[in-house]
């Protein structure tokens, strides 16, 4: 078994459109190790979210994939829905951008965490509820014993994302995919969520695939970076190398577009 947790090779995703099939991800290759964080950066439409959805087999209907996605050496592409279900949420889990719409408004957060735990681990309702309380505690939701019975709209934006993270980690997955997890949050809450993710990663050793359009966020959390543009992998390397010595024109452009506090104000 390799020491790489996730190995993606030549991943290509084709979506059907009104004007014929379009390749939205083209020959993308990367790896994520245990206890490692890979950041995928790019503008909207660069194919970064499609790459993440392809790993979990959650692409829109009619999408076709080629290449290879291996988790711990096991191929995931082309596996049946049934096989993938046992991987989703269990070995690989995912946190999405907008925590309010990503949680079902009709059920308590406790039930939503517990249903996932029971699906993969079984056990009684009571035990699963206890797991949910512990999961909420781990993401530092105050008074988790009471909050477990609250509905998503009763939480603040940052707390909702904590709930999503609690849910994602309740089955101790080996890989966590975070798709723009801080984009919908304001800056101070963003920093808290990033800190929480980094903390949890250091205690659990979970590998992380972190997707964002925000270079500042990537630089604070990722060790290695993949830059994507219209489905193409543009640059791939350590965060240090990509940020301090970008080889590709596009990466340089992205970096230049970040406003800096010591920039001179054009008069």
């Amino acid at each position: 078994m390799s020491d790489q947790l996730l190995v993606v090779e030549d991943l290509t995703v084709t979506l059907p459109t009104g004007r014929g099939p379009v390749e939205v991800v083209k020959n993308v290759s990367f790896t994520v190790g245990r206890d490692d964080t890979l950041g995928i950066v790019g503008e909207s439409g660069s194919g970064k979210s499609m790459t993440a959805l392809a790993v979990l087999g959650l692409l829109p209907r009619g999408a076709r994939t080629s290449g290879s996605v291996r988790l711990d050496g096991t191929e995931l592409l082309g596996r049946s829905e049934r096989d993938l279900r046992s991987v989703r949420g269990n070995a690989i889990s995912m946190v999405f951008q907008d925590p309010l719409s990503s949680l079902n408004p009709y059920y308590t957060v406790g039930l939503q965490i517990a249903e996932m735990y029971r699906t993969h681990r079984g056990g009684s309702r009571r035990a699963a509820r206890q797991v949910a309380i512990e999961a909420l505690e781990r993401v530092r939701i105050p008074d988790p014993g009471r909050r477990v019975d609250h509905y998503p709209h009763q939480f603040s934006g940052g707390q909702r994302q904590r709930v999503m993270i609690a849910m994602a980690l309740c089955c101790s997955p080996s890989l966590l995919i975070a798709d723009e997890p801080t984009t919908a949050l304001d800056v101070t809450v963003q920093a808290q969520i990033l800190e929480l993710l980094a903390d949890l990663q250091s205690t659990t050793g979970t590998g992380m695939l972190f997707i964002t359009h925000d270079l500042a966020v990537i630089s604070s959390i990722a060790r290695r970076v993949l830059v994507m543009r219209s489905g193409d992998p543009v640059e791939y390397g350590s965060a240090e190398q990509v940020f301090s010595n970008p080889r590709h024109e596009y990466t340089r452009m992205l970096l230049d577009a970040v406003p800096r506090i010591d920039d001179e104000v054009a008069s």
Binding site: R85, G89, N90, D98, S101, S102, T108, E115, M116
Partner: protein, 327 residues
């Protein structure tokens, strides 16, 4: 929550009083003089006056309205005749007590409404659901085309066609006669089958289209994607994360539609000759039988207003977002 319920019930009383007042004004003040109508063709001014006296039509309007209201809750006197509560007056046509006319006919209307509701809920929701899951397939397209057609066919056309085909030509069903359930359950069922179906078709088509679009909307919700990403089983995803959110709004519409039907299915009952509230309404309007028209209108308003409150309370139970803000 208790305060909310009490507030709603207070609102119900106010609305019903307003409906009473308006119906009273429309049917007793703007219509032809009831005394003249009761008196008939061979009539003298003296006789008209004495009828006015008995009905209280010589008194001021507010006093008349008050007497009418009092009659509903405490009963009233018409000359020497005592009308026990709840008194809605006597039919100008048959002299029958309006209240007993209602109690005799309500079971028929309720039977028609309940049976039709069961049919249209089953057909509409299941049809819409299958269409949503098989979106874009031939099944979906033909079901939705059929639904559009079904909504467009008027009740009375469908009723006459069904009667002609099933009763007259094929003779598989008896002519509807509204027998009591206890006398002959099979005949009872066969009798009501056509009215149920005719009434249900329009609703079923509407509900199918509604269910389909609600379910499709839910399937594109982010929380549905989350449910899939969690690796839940297909059945659990459908039940919890697609059906519950998609069907909750349908309870509102169903409550209102059903409440509306309890006030009588005018066309269906008339076409099939079922002696329910709807047929009573049609007959009373044709003969300008004011006390009956008044009672039928009030009854329909009562059901709709109560239905509205029940739906609202049910919604607070079904949707936690409403529940928490209202308490």
């Amino acid at each position: 929550m208790t305060r909310y319920v009490l507030g709603r019930l207070g609102g119900v009383v106010v609305i019903l009083l307003a409906v009473c007042l308006f119906t009273y004004l429309i049917f007793f003040k703007l219509s032809p003089d009831p005394a003249v109508m009761i008196c008939g063709k061979t009539c003298t001014p003296d006789r008209i006056n004495s009828i006015r006296d008995v009905l209280g039509l010589n008194q001021p309007l507010l006093t008349q309205f008050w007497e009418f209201l009092r009659g509903i809750f405490a009963g009233r006197e018409y000359g020497s005749v005592h009308c026990p509560a709840p008194c809605l007056g006597y039919s100008f046509q048959t002299n029958e007590s309006v209240w007993s006319m209602i109690t005799a006919r309500l079971p028929v209307s309720v039977t028609v409404a309940v049976g039709a509701a069961v049919l249209w809920l089953l057909a509409g929701v299941v049809g819409g659901l299958v269409s949503a899951i098989k979106q874009g397939t031939w099944w979906d397209r033909s079901a939705m085309a059929l639904a559009l057609g079904g909504v467009s066919v008027p009740n009375y056309v469908l009723a006459l066609v069904l009667q002609y085909v099933l009763v007259v030509k094929l003779q598989v069903l008896p002519f509807p006669s509204a027998p009591a359930f206890g006398d002959d359950p099979v005949l009872w069922f066969e009798s009501y089958l056509m009215p149920w179906a005719v009434l249900a078709v329009g609703y079923a088509c509407l509900y199918a289209r509604l269910t389909r679009s609600n379910v499709i909307d839910t399937l594109s919700e982010n929380y549905f994607r989350t449910a899939r990403a969690k690796g839940l089983s297909g059945a659990l995803i459908m039940r919890r994360h697609a059906l519950r959110p998609a069907l909750t709004p349908i309870t509102t519409i169903f409550g209102m539609d059903f409440a509306g039907l309890l006030g009588g299915a005018l066309i269906t009952e008339t076409v099939f000759g079922l002696n329910g509230i709807g047929k009573m309404a049609a007959d009373s309007i044709a003969k300008n039988d004011q006390p009956v028209i008044m009672a039928v209108t009030l009854l329909a308003a009562f059901f709709v207003v109560i239905g509205n409150v029940v739906v609202d309370l049910l919604y607070t139970a079904l949707d936690p977002r409403v529940r928490v803000t209202s308490s």
